[in-house]
């Protein structure tokens, strides 16, 4: 561990990231540019989240990493091991025991508490990017609060599909000012973004942006009066733990079309199974 500075990054880089985090917290939803470093993992594997985690971790922290809700996928395991080796922090898979949680594309089912920090890995931080490719223009649109185009996009969804078909990375408005990309979390998780007790930090490594939501911030999913936002999920109970209120993954289990639905949050599902809850597919 002495081969690296604490938490891998050099101190000057951490200061730069820390300054960006503070400005991000002061202007909720605004994307602060930062000088993203190359990390020992490819872009798209959470380099932004890793840099934000490295800047906020202290040796006393307990660190958890989830990838689409799961603690045991390659991305989650390798990032967890990375910080075990470079920061010497304790790691856990239990949501309530973690002080810093790095996540890819999910918010844990269990409500987070005041001492916790949730760090998101963000691929494309700019919610307007697919509508307007030029950064110079999207900057201007944010500065002028010119978000009509986003509503046109949602309207086109309705005219084409009869409902808003955007199911993940669903745009939100923060404190009535900035439209923000919540990272590709399912829209099922959108209602948890607002009024959360924990601090939420978003890091986009390739795109070099950091943004943040302080606790108890007002976050509203964009919608229309006649097409209100709806947090949707697969209409099934979890096959393993029977939960009816958690976000589910659909798994193909054989080559005859058999499938089962299980909680995407593995810690939540395991805790429920240990507590004696059983779904219809549980062994």
């Amino acid at each position: 561990m002495t081969d690296y500075n604490f938490a891998y990054l050099d101190e000057q880089t951490k200061r730069m990231i820390r300054r960006a985090i503070l400005k991000g917290l002061a202007i909720p939803g605004y994307q602060v540019p930062f000088a993203s470093r190359e990390m020992p993992m490819p872009y798209g594997w959470g380099t932004g989240g890793v840099q934000v985690s490295a800047a906020v971790l202290t040796p006393e922290d307990t660190f958890k990493v989830i990838d689409q809700g799961a603690d045991d996928t390659t991305n989650a395991v390798s990032i967890r091991t990375f910080f075990e080796r470079t920061a010497g922090v304790e790691t856990t898979t239990t949501t309530c025991d973690a002080s810093v949680i790095q996540t890819r594309h999910r918010i844990p089912e269990e409500p987070l508490s005041e001492g916790q920090i949730l760090v998101y890995q963000v691929p494309i931080p700019e919610p307007l990017r697919f509508l307007e490719p030029r950064e110079s223009e999207t900057r201007k649109m944010h500065s002028l609060e010119e978000y009509g185009l986003m509503h046109v996009k949602l309207y086109e969804d309705i005219s084409r599909h009869g409902h808003i078909a955007t199911s993940y990375a669903y745009p939100v408005k923060v404190e009535g000012r900035y439209v923000m990309d919540p990272s590709p979390i399912p829209k099922f998780d959108n209602p948890k973004l607002g009024d959360m007790a924990a601090i939420q930090l978003f890091g986009a490594g390739r795109e070099q942006r950091i943004y943040a939501l302080p606790p108890y911030t007002q976050v509203v999913s964009l919608d229309f009066e006649d097409h209100p936002f709806e947090a949707s999920k697969a209409d099934h109970p979890c096959g393993m733990c029977g939960a009816i209120d958690s976000y589910l993954d659909e798994l193909i289990i054989d080559d005859t079309g058999g499938r089962m639905f299980v909680c995407s949050d593995t810690d939540f599902c395991e805790a429920r199974q240990l507590a004696g809850h059983k779904g219809k597919d549980a062994a």
């Binding site: 938490a7 951490k14 730069m16 300054r19 906020v56 900057r139």
Partner: protein, 199 residues
């Protein structure tokens, strides 16, 4: 003086600045809450908390402005050795340190641009006392409302009115700090003699 400038920094910069940053971040994310910071022993008149904030956030890339009594040889030498921070006037600074009376008027500092509101100054305000009572705060990071002893009200109200532009404040006193980002709405406490309406 030479020896004094060399001492008083973080003994273990990586972990001490990590702890100090967590206090600063919690303070900025939850306006009105008080947090302890330790590890820095800056020369007078800087408080230990202000010293820790400077060591944690400042380096050669962040021009700083020392206002009033903070603008002395001992502080120059200490900051030069421990941070290498370039000293500038208020109009070009990223950070400013001093007492409230020395830092004002706030119109002297960069408030960012509408496309880059983050390019604004953070003011480290040395306070004779700092308690979680007094002016009423509401906004992001605050569940219902919070209270903080602020040096005045009107300046913070007009700063909030600039949102998303504006200045962010870190208040330091001894080894404690609190913060007030531009997003926070400030009201005079109930029953204050000089009534300042909410903005």
């Amino acid at each position: 003086m030479q020896a004094q400038a060399l001492s008083g920094g973080f003994a273990d910069p990586a972990t001490q600045s990590a702890h100090a940053f967590r206090s600063i971040m919690e303070a900025m994310a939850r306006p009105g809450t008080l947090h302890g910071v330790s590890g820095a022993l800056p020369p007078a008149p800087l408080s230990r908390a202000a010293g820790a904030v400077l060591l944690t956030l400042c380096d050669t890339e962040t021009p700083a402005y020392l206002a009033g009594g903070a603008n002395c040889d001992a502080v120059h030498a200490w900051l030069a050795f421990h941070t290498g921070v370039p000293l500038v006037g208020p109009s070009h600074c990223r950070f400013a340190v001093g007492s409230w009376s020395a830092l004002t008027p706030l119109s002297a500092y960069p408030i960012g641009t509408s496309e880059y509101p983050d390019r604004s100054a953070t003011l480290i305000v040395e306070c004779p006392e700092l308690t979680d009572s007094g002016e009423i705060l509401t906004g992001p990071g605050i569940r219902n409302n919070a209270a903080l002893s602020l040096p005045e009200v009107a300046a913070f109200q007009s700063n909030h009115a600039l949102f998303p532009l504006g200045l962010d404040f870190i208040f330091t006193c001894g080894d404690r700090l609190a913060a007030l980002p531009r997003s926070t709405k400030v009201c005079a406490p109930m029953g204050a003699t000089e009534v300042t309406p909410c903005m």
